[in-house]
């Protein structure tokens, strides 16, 4: 991929970041000395944009990795049931209203839910010492449905306040974002991203098939497990930061492949960057369109993502881009 393309893309993403920082229901000038504007910028806008960017990075990169290790162009973090497991755990806290660890209760339980769901999917996807892509995929779909239906049962049994907050969480809500969770999010998402980037060659080999990957010198099961852990770290952290946000993991890697080709060395970092920028734009639209009312960013990404997904289904050849 030419350096010019990468530079242009990086600059575009930075531009989007700045736009979503200074635009919104209340536009903020970067040079303003007004204490109210400064307060909006540093206490509300900046952490929210950082959280959106981090979640987008995590989901974009996770989608790129999952589509490779499962050799399925329709894979994203939701397919593996990790997001549903994570959201289920968070919904459990929201509906019950029991916050044992205070403010950290929801993100930590969401992360624990993601880890538990990953382990469960891994157990069901494991056969005779191998982590099999087809089994992983089917186990993820099955468990995802199970988590989702139990979550809906909880919502239907809950009080109106618990239900409202849970529904917001399910659709991805960035309005609660603050600085407290950002360092923890950075650590988990950066760890997952670094593992994925260092194993990009292995991911390319896995895309060719297990036998060719073996012939090229990779320990297939070890590599698949490592990349699966990376995805679990990133997805778990993203759900705990802002709930379940759909379609970034599915569409961004496909769009990115149009520009970069299929080499994971480029697809992973560029999907991360574009995923971050896309969620920032979606959040900007969500908080500006019907201001002062906010539309959860997850709804905006799904509104843009669903038609694109259907378009992909009609034109399967684009998967080969």
């Amino acid at each position: 991929m030419p350096k010019v393309k990468i530079t242009i893309l990086t600059l575009l993403c930075l531009g989007v970041l700045l736009l979503s920082l200074f635009l919104g229901p209340t536009s903020v000038s970067p040079f303003s000395a007004d204490p109210v504007e400064k307060e909006i910028l540093f206490s509300i806008r900046l952490p929210r944009v950082i959280v959106a960017f981090l979640i987008g990075i995590a989901l974009g990169a996770s989608g790129a990795v999952l589509q490779g290790i499962l050799r399925n162009p329709l894979a994203d973090p939701y397919v593996l049931g990790i997001s549903s497991g994570s959201a289920f755990a968070a919904a459990l806290v929201l509906v019950s209203g029991i916050y044992i660890l205070g403010k950290l209760t929801i993100p930590l339980s969401a992360f624990a839910g993601a880890c538990a769901a990953s382990v469960l999917v891994g157990i069901f996807g494991w056969k005779r010492g191998n982590l099999l892509p087809e089994r992983l995929l089917l186990a993820g779909i099955g468990l995802g449905f199970l988590f989702y239906s139990v979550m809906m049962l909880l919502v239907s049994l809950s009080t109106s306040e618990g239900m409202r907050r849970t529904v917001l969480w399910i659709f991805g809500d960035l309005s609660m974002a603050d600085w407290s969770l950002i360092p923890y999010g950075i650590v988990f998402i950066a760890s997952g991203l670094v593992i994925s980037l260092f194993r990009a060659k292995a991911l390319n080999a896995l895309i060719l098939g297990d036998e060719l990957a073996h012939s090229l010198g990779f320990s297939v099961q070890r590599e698949r497990l490592l990349l699966f852990i990376a995805v679990s770290l990133m997805t778990g952290a993203s759900v705990s930061l802002g709930g379940t946000i759909g379609f970034i993991g599915l569409i961004i890697p496909h769009v990115v492949r149009f520009f970069t080709g299929a080499n994971s060395r480029y697809v992973i970092p560029v999907s991360a960057l574009c995923g971050g920028a896309f969620l920032c734009i979606s959040d900007l639209i969500g908080r500006t369109l019907l201001a002062p009312m906010e539309i959860p960013a997850g709804i905006i990404t799904a509104l843009i993502g669903s038609p694109y997904f259907l378009y992909l289904l009609r034109r399967r050849d684009v998967f080969q881009a």
Partner: protein, 259 residues
């Protein structure tokens, strides 16, 4: 890899394997591949050709016996080091993978930290795909895709190349082209090739063939010595006549083919 002529490149001794615990698929299989040999592994569907190649690469683990690569037990090699000595092209390849020709061929360099002897460009030149290096694999014909995968296998620079039915589903023109290419490379680079195939007439082109049935070697040596009427009947369950041609080669004709 420097090779000592007295050590076989690949040696299987008393190898047994079973997919199902109650039913052995291979038992007590022994053979070796010497430096610079080009062997055709011939047998009917389900005869064990692919299983033998997968055992030789370490994808499958033998239940009994030993497999040595350059005199050292196969499982003692680090995966990456083994990939520099032995490359393998499976029979079933995903033809819809999204890479370009040059991206695919470059993957053959993955086991190396420094560039090996053959570059991706050189391999593309050898298989006649240099002009198409930037083309997505999905836009190539079946024969071109096979050649691209073979180029990747060659770039790996291994002294032993295992190919599982690389000619299957190809027109006779491409079959001959690929065979000649491999033969040429084997001579020039002094590599050893073990190639699975099931076309008896095509096997006549090889200097050495190994005929197998249910994982047992029925015969090994020159095709005209190994591929007798009786052995072919045993291995393929068809009646044939073997004809010597004016050119010196042999031709097999089926006498109880489909009516």
């Amino acid at each position: 890899m420097s090779s000592r002529p007295d050590i076989p490149i690949l040696e299987l001794s008393g190898v047994g394997f079973s997919y199902d615990r109650n039913e052995p698929f291979l038992s007590n299989l022994s053979f070796s591949v010497q430096n610079g040999q080009f062997i055709g592994l011939l047998g009917a569907n389900g005869s064990g050709k692919s299983t033998i190649l997968k055992l030789a690469t370490g994808i499958l683990k033998p239940s009994t016996g030993r497999i040595h690569l350059w005199g050292k037990s196969l499982h003692e090699y680090r995966q990456k080091d083994k990939a520099k000595l032995i490359s393998y092209l499976p029979q079933f390849l995903d033809m819809q993978i999204p890479f370009t020709v040059s991206e695919l061929v470059s993957m053959g360099l993955y086991p190396y930290d420094i560039l090996p002897e053959m570059t991706a460009d050189e391999a593309l030149e050898l298989v006649g795909l240099r002009e198409k290096s930037g083309t997505p694999l999905t836009q190539l014909s079946g024969g071109e895709r096979r050649r691209a995968f073979i180029a990747m296998t060659l770039v790996q620079g291994a002294g032993l190349v295992l190919l599982d039915e690389p000619l299957v589903n190809l027109d006779i023109k491409f079959q001959i082209e690929i065979y000649r290419l491999l033969k040429d490379l084997q001579m020039k680079k002094n590599i050893s090739i073990l190639m699975a195939l099931h076309d008896i007439n095509f096997a006549m082109q090889f200097e050495t063939v190994m005929l197998i049935k249910h994982g047992t070697i029925l015969g090994s040596g020159k095709p005209e010595e190994v591929l007798t009427k009786d052995r072919i009947k045993d291995a393929f369950d068809v009646d044939v006549t073997v004809h010597k041609q004016d050119s010196g080669g042999m031709a097999i004709r089926y006498t109880n083919g489909p009516k």
